[in-house]
């Protein structure tokens, strides 16, 4: 069965979406990803969409669902690499991608995840001191 590979890197999971997304593939990805978050106790998900030539409301909704599911499992999601033409089109389409963090590229996305994890750990430390 066709599926999108999920790579584990330390506390994070990396996904690169390169194929044309359809319903079954999206559902498989949601299942695989939530399982892996739990198995690896992942703290962050990085989704690279630089290979996507379009993002329609279907894919936008899927990204939003993944971000919500991951948040419930205590993992942060960052979507990286959106092409400029896709950003222009998304705004006109009316898709604001609210609630989804974005970064320009994989490197910046990793920094976002690392910063949010560091903040969380500091908060955790300080709460233990009391």
């Amino acid at each position: 069965m066709e599926r999108i590979p999920i790579l584990k890197m330390g506390d994070y999971l990396l996904i690169t979406i390169q194929v044309d997304m359809h319903d079954k593939l999206a559902l498989t990805l949601q299942n695989d990803l939530t399982e892996q978050i739990v198995t690896h106790k992942s703290k962050g998900i990085l989704i690279d969409i630089s290979a996507l030539e379009i993002v329609d409301s279907f894919i936008g909704r899927m990204l939003g669902i993944i971000a919500s599911m991951s948040r419930l499992l205590d993992a942060e999601t960052v979507v990286v690499g959106m092409q400029p033409a896709v950003a222009i089109t998304l705004v006109e389409l009316g898709l604001s991608m609210k609630g989804i963090r974005t970064a320009l590229n994989v490197e910046k996305g990793m920094t976002v995840l690392q910063n949010s994890l560091r903040e969380e750990r500091q908060d955790g430390d300080s709460s233990r001191q009391f």
Partner: protein
């Protein structure tokens, strides 16, 4: 005067067909010399409408036409289904209104992504949506 230079039809019966429609529209818009942003807009609009045809119309057909007038070339996409139709078109065009599980952006969004937009629908008989994007 608008001339139809070339016309072909594709069936939309499964999710894979939505992908095929996107690819066909991409190919045609490239052959017309559309810039990347224009390509992206018309392909995105075609994706929204093809999905509507599949999800709400129970499947249907898209006609892809290459147009030409005295000044420029364009692409026209006509999506037709024999589904339940839309009783209130104004409501269906409203952002955020959805009858299914979607985001309710398909119709209004594809209208904004196109230069011309036309919709006719008869409850119980089906829906026809036509968009044009000029170069």
């Amino acid at each position: 005067m608008i001339r139809v230079v070339n016309s072909e039809s594709m069936e939309i019966r499964a999710a894979e067909d939505v992908v095929a429609v996107r690819q066909a529209v991409r190919k045609k818009s490239i052959s017309l010399g559309f810039g990347l942003v224009d390509q992206t807009k018309v392909v995105t609009a075609s994706s929204e409408l093809a999905r509507n045809t599949l999800d709400h119309g129970g499947g249907g057909t898209v006609h892809l036409e290459i147009l030409e007038n005295d000044r420029r070339a364009g692409i026209r996409l006509i999506f037709e289904d024999q589904g339940p139709g839309i009783a209130d078109i104004a409501q269906a065009l409203t952002d955020g209104y959805t009858s299914g599980g979607g985001m309710g952006l398909g119709l209004g969004g594809s209208k904004r992504l196109s230069h011309e937009f036309d919709i006719t629908s008869q409850p119980g008989e089906g829906t026809r949506v036509s968009i044009v994007r000029w170069k």
